[in-house]
Symmetry: C2
Subunit: 230 residues, 2 copies
Amino acid sequence: MAIKMYDLAGADPNRRFSPYCWRIKLALKHKGLEFDTIPWRFVEKAVIAPYQSERVPVIVDNGRGVADSWRIAHYLEDTYRERQSLFGGERGSALARFYNQWTDVSLQGAIAPIVVGDILKHLDPGDRDYFRKSREARLGMKLEALIAARDSHLSTLHRVLEPLRQTLAAQPYLGGGTPLYPDFIVFGAFQWARSVSDVRLVEAPDPINEWRQRMLDAFDGFARSAPGYW
Amino acid sequence: MAIKMYDLAGADPNRRFSPYCWRIKLALKHKGLEFDTIPWRFVEKAVIAPYQSERVPVIVDNGRGVADSWRIAHYLEDTYRERQSLFGGERGSALARFYNQWTDVSLQGAIAPIVVGDILKHLDPGDRDYFRKSREARLGMKLEALIAARDSHLSTLHRVLEPLRQTLAAQPYLGGGTPLYPDFIVFGAFQWARSVSDVRLVEAPDPINEWRQRMLDAFDGFARSAPGYW
């Protein structure tokens, strides 16, 4: 039976913009596992409450629910050991954690003020109040004030991206010759932006953009076929 | 025969402050290799010219010179395969590169304006002009202007450190249960600061400081026994 995954959606149920959900969709593809996604909105907390989570991704595999992208990735690695590894071993798993925290805090923290206004436009009407209130509290200002300062946020993002740029100038993937879970973590942030905003965070001939094109092409263009702007 | 390593020194030949040299000294300890360090100053380019380098670390092993910390770490891993691994395999080696670039650019870039004035004080008199000119060109301002803005640089550093803090709150080392080369890369930046400046970049009960204490204790207190402030 295919794995079921709750996946954050916008007003258009095909617009899937959660960076954490993208990490797991690509991890499932990497493992070659069949899965069906179920569009989920921020206000539908009751739907995933049985899985002890208030946020997606949540997967249900053979009746067992697993929440939180980091835990799901490890569940998939441990449960489907015979399939291609997501981490390249125990050391790779330990080394992946800093990528996870760097992406959550530094990278997504730098992208958020650039795309947050565009996210609002794409939300299901029922999600807009929740989103505005929670994000304005987290970011400490009105969404309109963030949008007005976009150029300064873009220049901060480019500083944050420099180590990633140097890394991908030296090797095709963060994982080496082929991708590992850290590639999916970082790519999820770019896919989040692409799915809601036409602001091109990286452009040719940036090595980050070249890597991103390879990731968009992976798995028969799985990520490229999702609704998005660039 | 012991490996020979050229190691950046201050006016006091025992004060060794290069973060790149610290990466390699700890890598040599991790491999259990005997080595002798030779104090080197910025102006002594001629001494290391035979090894096609203008910067340290440079090691000489059985008559062969190897320069650049990333290349030296891989040389040691490849040459001394039977000894404890620095990377935990090919995937770990690929995943280590982002730690290297993040430390060079983001972490050391955030520490530099805090400690650069203190470095100047500890330099050999012959190195001071070179250092002031090259660093003021790189940082785009007078050293005195950087020192005046120290508090704002400390708050930037704390933002940069947050992903590292979250990672080390979840596991003892970046490499997992025991250190790998990424631990030595990141620790080198803290050891650089410790060796020249009394500004405590992290303090108890920060998980980064707890990790740093473990690293100072490693190899019979090798890093702790070096001249430093905290």
